[in-house]
């Protein structure tokens, strides 16, 4: 019962946060110079004042800002995200079309980075000070410090251009007409490079964090006690050390999971991955207000959701933590 009340309260907070985000985003975007009509005109190569005026009237951009904001919030509360100015289609359709690709990419990268990051971190801490530790720490530092888009371009160059092993752009082989398992495998192949690159950075973060956290806990008294009682080493590692060492990792993973959806912009751009991060970025460049606000809202909702989820996972890993 307590848990339910906690969850409901957190959900309420989440919704209030989202509303605040919507208002702030609306004001920030409208503060940027230029509007969707100017961008459309810019790409058309010709436009007169009358044409731009027509576009603005059609998009309701000729009304005062507070009225536009009120109208937007009103529609939002009815669950209507509006139409994309540029594509003249419902925002919700455009987002729903693109969300699965991003979720696939980010969830694979998330799982991969968490799995390998923690494994490498544990391994490094077990061999602290020896060459395994140095190798892992050096690599982690390297991937942590290298810009993602550069790694991405290099990966395309090496594995797609020089060694034509893996596709370097897109979501599937266009025009191949694969169905069923063949299509799934084809998508999986396209997924490899973007996932790896996106995962590398976080893998490095988790490895470093797990290693540090493990080394800290290994020397604490309860571990020594367990060892003195003759608990097998493997069990000490899993039940006593890892379990405690994972708490900071979970905090970070929760934040990462929430941010990954919007944070995949660079990877989606380099790999031409048809996801929501790119949709967001292009909407920003094109001043497609409705679409941009819609994608912001969806990614923010996911972040809020993952925050909540993280809290729940805490209690599972460490039963001493209570939801309240």
């Amino acid at each position: 019962m307590d848990k339910l009340i906690f969850l409901l309260r957190r959900l309420g907070h989440g919704l209030a946060t989202l509303l605040l985000i919507a208002v702030m985003n609306f004001l920030l975007i409208h503060a940027a110079p230029g509007d969707p009509a100017t961008v459309l005109a810019g790409e058309s190569g010709a436009a007169d004042e009358q044409f731009l005026q027509q576009l603005r009237e059609r998009f309701d951009l000729d009304r005062p800002l507070p009225q536009q904001l009120a109208g937007y919030l009103g529609r939002l509360l009815q669950g209507d995200l509006g139409d994309s100015y540029r594509q003249q289609q419902p925002v919700i359709d455009l987002i729903v079309e693109r969300l699965p690709a991003t979720l696939l990419l980010t969830s694979s990268a998330f799982a991969l980075s968490l799995l390998f990051g923690v494994t490498l971190g544990v391994w490094a801490s077990r061999h602290a000070g020896r060459w395994q530790d140095s190798a892992i720490s050096t690599l982690a530092l390297l991937f942590y410090a290298t810009p993602l888009f550069w790694v991405a371009l290099l990966a395309v160059l090496v594995f797609s251009v020089w060694l034509p092993w893996l596709p370097g752009f897109g979501y599937e082989t266009v025009g191949a007409g694969f169905t069923g398992w063949a299509r799934a495998l084809d998508i999986a192949r396209h997924l490899v490079l973007p996932t790896l690159v996106l995962a590398l950075f976080y893998m490095a973060v988790y490895a470093r964090m797990t290693r540090a956290s493990m080394l800290e806990i290994v020397h604490q008294d309860f571990v020594k006690t367990a060892r003195a009682k003759g608990v097998p080493e493997g069990r000490i590692l899993r039940a006593h050390v890892l379990r405690n060492a994972l708490l900071p990792v979970i905090t970070l993973a929760g934040m990462q999971a929430g941010a990954m959806v919007g944070g995949a912009v660079l990877i989606e751009t380099v790999f031409a991955w048809p996801g929501i991060g790119r949709l967001l970025f292009e909407a920003l460049a094109q001043r497609d207000y409705a679409l941009l606000l819609g994608t912001f809202l969806v990614t923010a909702s996911i972040a809020v959701l993952f925050n909540l989820l993280t809290d729940v996972v805490y209690t599972l890993v460490d039963p001493r933590i209570e939801l309240s």
């Binding site: 230029g34 190569g45 010709a46 251009v161 897109g170 266009v174 025009g175 192949r189």
Partner: protein, 525 residues
Amino acid sequence: MNIRRRTWLACIAAAAAWLATGLPSGAMAQDGPGGALNVAIFPEPNIIVGGWGQTGPSQLVNGNIYEGLLRYNDKLEPMPGLATAWAISADSLVYTFTLKRDVTWHDGQPFDAQDVVFSIDKIARTLNPRVRVALQAVESIKALDSHTVEIRLKEVFAPFIGLFDVSTIPIVPRHLYENADLAGKPPAGPIVGTGPYRFKEWVRGAYIHLVRNERYHEAGVPKIDNVFFHVIPDAASRAAAFEAGKIDVLPGGTVEYFDVARLATLPGVAVTSKGWEKFAPLAWLWINHRNPLFQDLRVRQAIALAIDREALSKVVWQGYAPAASGPFHRQTPFYSAATVQPQRDKDKARKLLAEAGYQGQSVRLVGLPFGETWNRSAELVRQNLLEAGFKVELVSTDLAGAVAKASNWDFDLAFTLMYQYGDPALGVSRNYVSSEIQKGSPFNNVGGYQNAKVDELFRRGAGTADPQQRAAAYAEAQKLLIDEVAAVWLLELDFPTVYRSKLDNLVNSGIGLNDSLARAAFTSR
């Protein structure tokens, strides 16, 4: 522990084997004799309904689905399109088009003169600002019979015959759009044209797929069965996709110029600058004539003399964009080689600036956010101006910001790129005549240049059909604009198209890839 390690290794080995052997991901589908043509595109088109889709990328796709009454060769002479013949009356006021018979829309409905009248008079006039201006000269558009259309003009408008390509006035099906709300959203429903390719599928963010129109009205075309336009947002990734063999065509402007130079050296790769004759893209610097500093001719001359167009062309644009000689692109009709803007002379620029009493006021230079090549151009121009003694502040923005700044006259010097559309009356005069000074659009006389003599010359050039009189008027206008430094003209950007040399006939009209790919074919080379 050992067992687990072994399982891990097995998993990794299996994954590696699967990746290396792989599925048929190497080549794109090549089913059917005509195969598939893969074209890169960016930005993604917004709308590809003919008449509604007017951004550059929309036109790249639409030229395959829709058709115009006419096509134009690289000398901008009309060729048959949906019209097989055309006649212009002796007084240059009546244009009569004879339409091709037995043409059907992709949905099987017959095409006739009513479609043409509707497309020009209703769709283009309402939705296309560029055509609306040109159509102000029109008195009436009528269908004389089911396959003849007559257009009467109120006054002579010399470039009129140049308006009928697919990227200017696409012919769209009246039976589908008759009741469309022209002030609202583009109509939903099937995308139907008469063109050589039919619309198949658009996966947003990924690709647009067109298929061969089996019932196309020209025998033997199209040659290729499937055309895919792949949306690839990053310029470096587009170059990589081409290099990896996944893309066959990089249309002009989709790849950075240093990559053009690099890709051109690869085996089996061809580069052409043809296909931009009608657009004749010219890049220049707007001078904001409202700025008191620039009202002194000597200051404007100093700017023009400061800039090293040859370096811009050779270094930044890798030799693919020749230096501009003035307000007319050399491929625009009535270009006069008699007057060209002066070459770079740094010392003279410094001297003029001193004579004008320049106090070191800061000059805001607004770049164009079209990628690395443009950024470098802005930096070079800034460097040139600094060397001549100007104090320069580089303003960088995204596209919306740049367009807004130009439209609202919020700059001192600003880069621009504009098409000349095959006639000075369509693509040159709008930038310099005083009637085109209006806030709110980036495509008129943004600099605010005013000269009654220039106004008169451009009016004379458009209002007579006699080529000699037109040439004389435009030559004089060109000279005046250069003498007065109305703007600083930089480069003629005939965007190079990079493609596989096994492709024949890729570019075969004056609008290049914006015309259909119907005549392109793979050879065995």
